[in-house]
Symmetry: T
Subunit: 74 residues, 12 copies
């Protein structure tokens, strides 16, 4: 939310990901961040913009959280 | 988020529910799904569209999460 | 707007209604609440989400107010 | 869009449906209206609020259109 | 909200007006409709999209309601 | 969506129209553009901002599509 | 809605209040403005951003209107 | 933002314009206001609702700012 | 709209495309999906978020539909 | 979500806070409520309006949840 | 936009201000930040959420920019 | 805003970037466009969707403008 003081000349790219988890909303967020960090360096922040889920047999099968993820372009 | 491949001729109905919990946001979501599954078959997905809560004595008394819930019309 | 302190284990359903009135916006809201109370017990709150109206001969013929109405599921 | 002149004392209910079609957006809208008319009399208007679809093998498998549908409460 | 059954081949224009009143929200709506009807025939519907007001000496000086107003193009 | 390269000193006006059609969404868009072109020169682009329709006897009576239409002011 | 011509060097603060009334939407707006004027000088404008209410025994118990209220910082 | 105290019985019309400029966002706003003032008296306020631009050869060719512009109806 | 039951441990990426067509809205959607499938495997769903078009000589020159397109990250 | 039955003559103020936590979304909400209760009596409800976070070394460093918090004005 | 790495246990408050300037949009932003810094320490970030202005004699009299401003609660 | 007449069979991709500048909003926009043009050919248009900034010692440290940027897919 607050801005860093040291990167005033950077340009960031923002991508949109959907993380999934059978466990919780927080875990779905983590799954997307974890996946993104495998191929992208310099991840800086995320924003959760949608929380959905799949229902199976009257129970939540898995959560699906859509994130905006920002990272520094080198 | 992703669509199923097999139900291209179905019509779904979407209802709006508010689940509550003294424990957590996730638990409030589960309480609404659990209640809906008592009277509706074929629940398919949900979307959490609002997270609110009641404050008592300076602490969260209970969480209130508003959900859209979709189910197949037979 | 404020939450009740006593109903932390309830699930609510939210429906959408359009009330109409030849008289006023407030009266259109009342007409929808009045109609809903005929068939639904435990109405708890409403939110007015759209105010429209019909114009006849250069004057307002009737107001149409769309409401979300929440009630307790037993 | 335009209001009828004759029903100033009515109350309407608005429900949310998702129609699907393998053919087109318009056909998905029709499938939802057609299904609704089997169980509800006095359907009056709809609004399409979301257009989505499922992709299979690089092509559109089916369209999914979310509608608000309004009908007169008797 | 409901559509008329008879005007399927019409095109409507929608304009935006701000009505003001020292008295009430409803009266501000009426002032805008009344002014529009002086120069436009075939006004059909309105939607109130914003309600504001001016405060003078700690009291409401006047209400300002922004409306979309639709009319038939001949 | 993309901007033209040659009109950097132009001012555009944007108006709002509702086109109707008994046939399809696309045809409702065309009806509004066609009507606008009778009285306005230099129409440049449109955006469809709402798709609604009227239901008669359980079937779509006509589609109503609200458009923003932009044109060059001379 | 219109701007004053004389205060081009002012800074305003905007706060959010919820006024309540058993009587009407307009009265709920007035209750919030009246309360704000007890402790804040130089109130200048308001915008009503949400209209809700509490339902008791099938009737409106009280209206709750959320306002943005702007005032001049000295 | 602040309301004038003296025009409580006026009705305003709000139109939408797109101003363009090769120089800056502020200049695009000015170009639209300047063009509007050629044919409309009593312009009162504007709101910038969208800022876009055209890119040519990897640089901004011109800015395009969409404005709502309000003026007094006499 | 409905979620698949089998991919609870996947992460999806969502990209934004604009498809164009001289023919229809549906065809503009197809052109974007077709182009995306040339370079991306595992496309799963789309959502149409904006429908615009270019007007030439008073007629629609081409439609431009902005899509969100989701695909599985391997 | 539901309104209390007993406070129809109250005025509430709504403030915006951002709570942070290294642990979870729920904990970030609690941190903001806890901080607010140190200086404000009569906190009544909250709404979570944005969920963001900071990423450090490819993992979530801390969550940042923006809340609206309502309390009774005495 | 990016988050600081060192303040994971802070709570921020967000207030809404309107800065004005006869000169430019950027200057109106600066006027609000400058005013806020007179009475608030630890200002951290802002977001411009609305750009409006007053028109006098066919020219921009002053700009009015509404800002959210975040600061650390000690 | 206006569409080009010659590219009716193109597909565009839209990406999201955040440009930063210590100087001005316009300069932050330019920094993002300049960075994008280093690796992407055929940039066509942008839309500024959010303007934020970092505050240091009571003054604006740098501006951060989030852009959607569209370019032609070959």
């Amino acid at each position: 939310m607050a801005s860093t003081g040291s990167d005033s000349d950077h340009v960031y790219k923002v991508i949109e990901l959907v993380g999934t988890s059978e466990t919780s909303v927080d875990d779905a967020i983590k799954s997307a961040i974890s996946r993104a960090s495998k191929t992208l360096k310099h991840l800086r922040w995320f924003e959760a913009i949608q929380t959905r889920g799949h229902i199976e047999n009257g129970q939540i099968g898995h959560y699906q959280v859509t994130l905006k993820v920002g990272f520094t372009l080198e």
